[in-house]
Amino acid sequence: MKPLTRNQMAWRAAQDVEDGTVVNLGIGIPVLVSDYLPEGRDVFFQSENGVIGVGPAATPEQEDPDLVDAGSRRITLRPGATIVDSAASFAMIRGGHIDVTILGAFEVASNGDLANWDMRIPNKGPLVGGAMDLAVGAKAVRVIMEHNTRKGEPRLLDACRLPVTALECVKRIYTDIAVIDVEATGFVVREIVEGLSPDELRARTEAELSIPQDVGVLRAPDLG
C-alpha cells in the first residue's frame, strides 16, 4: 500500500473540478489543485482577497507586490480575471457564488461538520481568516487532508473534537488513502488506495464507513 503524496492528493481532487466553475482553494495542499486540472477545463479560481481568476504563480520577472492572493503568494491573472474588494469578495463567497471550495482540514465528522480553523496551539492567537465563510457559503465544500494525524489518530470522526468551522458542510474528502463522500447516512467510501483492504481503512477511521461492493481504486500518476 502506497498512500498518495500531497501532490497526488491535489491531483485527485483536481479531476473532480467541473468545467466552467468558480473554485476557491485553501492554503496548503488545496492550492496545488490548480496545477493538475485536466486539459480543457476552464475554471476561475477565486481568492478571498478579491481576485477572481487567479492565474499561475508569478515568475520572478512577473512578480508584483500588489498582485497577490489571500495566502500572500505573488500571482498572475488569467484572461477574464478581475479584482473586487474584500466586502464584495465575501459577498460572493457567502452568497453562494463559489461553486466549489477545496479546503484543508484537521477533522471532519460523519455529518459533515468541519474543523479546520484552530489547533489551539499553546502561546498562539486564533486564526480563522475566511475558513468559516467558505465552509458556509460555497455550494460544495471538499476537503483534502491526511487520513490520520502524525500520531496516527483518526481525523474522520463521529463528532469533531476540535472547534468546528461550520456544521454539516463537507461533501467529499480526499485523503492519502481514500475518497469519501458525506451522505445523509454518513461517510460513504468511493475509492480506496491500491493494496489497502476495507477493514484496514476502517481500522484507521473512527467513524463508521459505508463501503459499497463496487468501491473504486484510488490511483494517481507518479508526480515526482
Binding site: G125, P126, L127, M132, T165
Partner: protein, 225 residues
Amino acid sequence: MAIDKRVASAAEALDGIEDGATVLISGFGGAGFPNIMIRALRDRDLKGLTLVVNSATHPFSYTHELIEAGQVQKVICSAARGRGKEPSPFEKLWMDGKIELECLPQGTFAERIRAGGAGIPAFYTPVGFGTDLAAGKEVRRFGDVDCVLETAITGDLALIRGDVADRYGNVIFRHAQANFGPAMATAARITVAEVRETQAEPIAPERVQLSGVYVNRAVAVGDAR
C-alpha cells in the same frame, strides 16, 4: 473654496485623532498596507487605540509596531496568530490580558465594516453559527438557515492604501491593493488615503474605485511601503 483633500504630510493627516480612537487599517495578502500612516500613528504616540485590522500580526504590515509600543487596548481581526514559534508581541500582550481580542470570520469582519458605512446597524449571517466564535451571539433561523446576529463596526479613523488619489479624494487601487480599504473608508469619521501619488486633475469617472466622498485626506508617499 475649491476642494483639495491633499495634505502635505502623514503627520498632518492625523490631525484631530485622539487617545482612545478606533482605527481601521486596510491590507491583506501582502497588499494594501498603509504602512507610512501606521508609522505616523505610532510616532504620534496615542494610547488606548482599538485597531480594526484583518491581521494583528501580518509580517508585511507595521500594525504590530503599534501593539508593541503599548498603544493598543483592543484588536478586532480575523487573524491573530504570529508566524514564528515564539509568541508575537500581540500574542504576549493578549495572553497577559493586556490586549482585548475580538476574532471574527473574515467575511463577517468585512461585512460588519461595510454595514457600519452603509447605515445598517445589524444583520444576520449564517457564517459562524454553531462555532466558538459565535458563542453568546444571538441566533435566529431564516427558512432552513441558522444565523447569528452581527452588528456594525464604525471607527474614528480609517487608514487605507491606494495607488493614486486626486484632489477630490477619489482613489484608484493597484491590483489586489483595495481589499478592506473601500469598506473601511465608508465606516470611519475621518479617512486617510495613503497613495503612491496624488494629482490635481480629476481621475476619469470610470476609473475611480473609491469615491472622494469617503476620503477626507490624501497623502502621497511615493514608492515607500
